[in-house]
Symmetry: C2
Subunit: 436 residues, 2 copies
């Protein structure tokens, strides 16, 4: 199919990303032809609402609201499917593959939930699925893992994979604003969804990390096996205390070999302020990969947004048009049969931690907490309880911050339950690992 | 050739990088076979000195000191050629291509000087040349430009491409040491060559930038068309003054569209300390690319060294083994026919500048220099001449630092010649653009 001079493309979904794809296809006809040796022709567009006004002139390209027109069109080689959510995306992609179409998708939720099933189907049907845009937008991290790093054993992946969370954490710190203030502003500006739950609770980052982990280690990690916390309970105080200690707080997605086991987590994490990850601000994403040969390699840039995501989709279109994508997908399918790295049980993840408690400002509170930590063999490296709390004006309570030496997630969870039961402990309890 | 189950590889050059390549091939047999679906077999090694002790056990692999044994072996599919310098590398690669072998090289000097000729030859003979390791070691920048960014018009490339220079500049600043002290130390530790001229005078970075520029813009830029300065005359004082103003000094390689023209330079440059490039320290490389769709994207990591470079070579081996490399090389050949972006004449490069003069500590010196700048319409934004110079102890001279508003390289060059002729101006005159 890749030998014909014209490549006939259908686009399913003409929202933000789809519009960006159309723009690039229109603007870069000539350079894309030089790259690929083929004419890339957008032949059909499928949208949910035909009547809707669009920011792009589709000219004479037929627009339909029924994907069946694409399924039935034998001229279409490849379908750029840029629709979010699981349904009908799952059914769409299945039907397209079955109809002999290859598929380019940016849908990480779909790949996380049904990637194994769709990849297996594509394998049986000798079809190709491309998904560079599904993780970290315009940053070519899928390509890096699948091609550039193939001579390496991956030691660790540390990444900021959710731009909304990073925007919120950065803005809170830079402007000394509260979580709620920044979130409201981000929503008003369209940076955050009306329902930002998946962004701020770590689900989005965990889905992306799961996809990367599968590619890098051959290990399928369901969300429930990822130590996962969101940023909703992070207070400005936490960011300020972290900064005083030389850290920034980032929603860090980590897959790391610890001996022969894989530790996988998505948690607000204290990262050294002078590391590249610590300095990644705003809605940017960054992926820091350590390979046994290459050492530390970092890729960063816009992890979302119309044109960055469209840029990644176009990389897939070009890869597909030249025939490279089919080869890469065969490699990915072969790797599904490799022996996966075993997961470290969540309780055994071992890190240093930042703990913050809101406590009644009365005697013996610190002693009670320290006693519980000590009984669980959690060693304290520093304590901070300021005499006055001028960040927040709730009276009668104090913020107690404890930094621990290295300990396990399991010990901390158990200790945390006991601490929560203390009558002097109020409200949120924050637990953040420290990445050194 | 890519369909046979075994891939037969010859290695020419078994020095630092070659040894690293052998190590990965030996250690990663199984994972490379899963990636590629083929057995990667190192069948022959060619070295200059057969008797030399090596850090790697070649087992039963035949070792020769004559490349003709590879040329004559019809079993060999691809040759990993990791020998530096132009000769005999140019003749070797030519003979290998003519004998029907594909070539993987890490030799940027060869590609810079004879890439066009070798690519054309490979094109005629339907052969493939891979060269990911030639620029920025383990960082997959060649792949990013050739594949990930294909939906973009590249607006600019800003990069640190020479690790030795960056190591020297970083160490000078961090330890408050002089250029000569740090260079001697770098040589003692093996970071810098015995003859580091190509590293510190910008030649190495300019060759790499030329290769990137050709791929990104289709423009062949010979060294003489690159505004090029080395770091040899940078003094600790320059780094300290820059730091006070919020900058770091980096040997910055830049290709940038200015209107319809391309500005290409390799110069010590003032880069904001809080930008990713400004914070790239030690021997690391970084490439910051701006595409019209993707926005700013950054890749960083080890730009040289045994295993990072071997990692890039292995990425090429895997790409070759799967057949992707041949496709990519065809794209590169097609792009040679695109209309190149025209170069901006060197004199018309327009930037803000940092100027530093060593002057006799006597009246009217500043007035003389300011007068010359003024007559050439170079506007001064700030001046700094400290009363005492406690950084250097030469008596009777002072360091005068002038920051200009935006002006052209041509005006500054002319003014600089006049300033040089002033009897009060002594020794080196430093001119560094400011990247904002």
């Amino acid at each position: 199919m890749t030998e014909s001079p014209d490549l006939n493309i259908a686009l399913v979904g003409c929202g933000t990303v789809g519009t960006g794809v159309v723009r690039i296809l229109q603007a870069s006809q000539e350079s894309l032809r030089q790259r690929t040796g083929r004419s890339l022709r957008l032949q059909q567009v499928v949208v949910r609402n035909i009547g809707k006004q669009r920011d792009v002139d589709l000219g004479t390209i037929p627009v339909s609201d029924d994907i069946q027109t694409v399924v039935d069109d034998p001229q279409i080689h490849v379908v750029v499917h840029v629709v979010g959510g699981i349904s009908p995306a799952r059914e769409d992609v299945t039907r397209l593959l079955q109809a002999g179409k290859d598929v380019i998708t940016a849908n990480k939720a779909l790949l996380y939930a049904h990637g194994a099933e769709l990849f297996a189907l594509a394998g049986r049907l000798k079809r190709t699925i491309c998904f560079e845009a599904a993780v970290a937008g315009g940053i070519p991290i899928i390509s890096a893992v699948n091609t550039a790093l193939t001579g390496n054993r991956i030691i660790s992946i540390e990444a900021i994979l959710n731009g909304t969370s990073n925007f919120i954490l950065t803005r809170m710190f830079d402007r000394r604003e509260t979580y709620d203030e920044v979130l409201a502003e981000a929503q008003a500006r369209g940076y955050a969804e009306a329902d930002p739950a998946m962004d701020v609770d770590g689900t989005d980052a965990a889905q992306k990390l799961s996809i990367l982990t599968q590619l890098a280690y051959g290990t399928r990690v369901p969300l429930e096996d990822i130590v996962r916390q969101g940023i909703q309970q992070i207070e400005l105080l936490d960011l300020l205390v972290a900064a005083e200690l030389g850290y920034r707080v980032k929603l860090l997605a980590t897959s790391r070999l610890s001996g022969e086991r894989l530790e996988v987590s998505v948690q607000p994490t204290l990262v050294r302020a002078n590391r590249a990850i610590g300095m990644t601000s705003g809605a940017d994403n960054i992926i820091s990969i350590e390979g046994d040969a290459v050492g530390l390699m970092r890729l960063s840039g816009a992890g979302a947004g119309q044109m960055p995501t469209a840029s990644a989709v176009l990389a897939d279109v070009v890869d597909y048009a030249t025939g490279r994508a089919a080869i890469t997908f065969q490699s990915i399918l072969r790797l599904q049969h490799q022996r996966p790295v075993m997961l470290q049980p969540q309780e055994e993840l071992s890190r240093r931690y930042y703990l913050r408690f809101t406590v009644a400002d009365r005697p013996h509170v610190l002693a009670d907490i320290a006693d519980i930590l000590g009984r669980h063999e959690i060693s304290i490296s520093s304590v901070r309880q300021d005499e006055t709390d001028d960040v927040l004006d709730e009276s009668g309570v104090a913020r107690l911050v404890i930094m621990t030496h290295r300990t396990t997630e399991g010990r901390l969870r158990t200790a945390d339950q006991e601490i929560a039961a203390l009558s002097s402990v109020r409200g949120d309890r924050i637990r953040m690992p420290i990445a050194d």
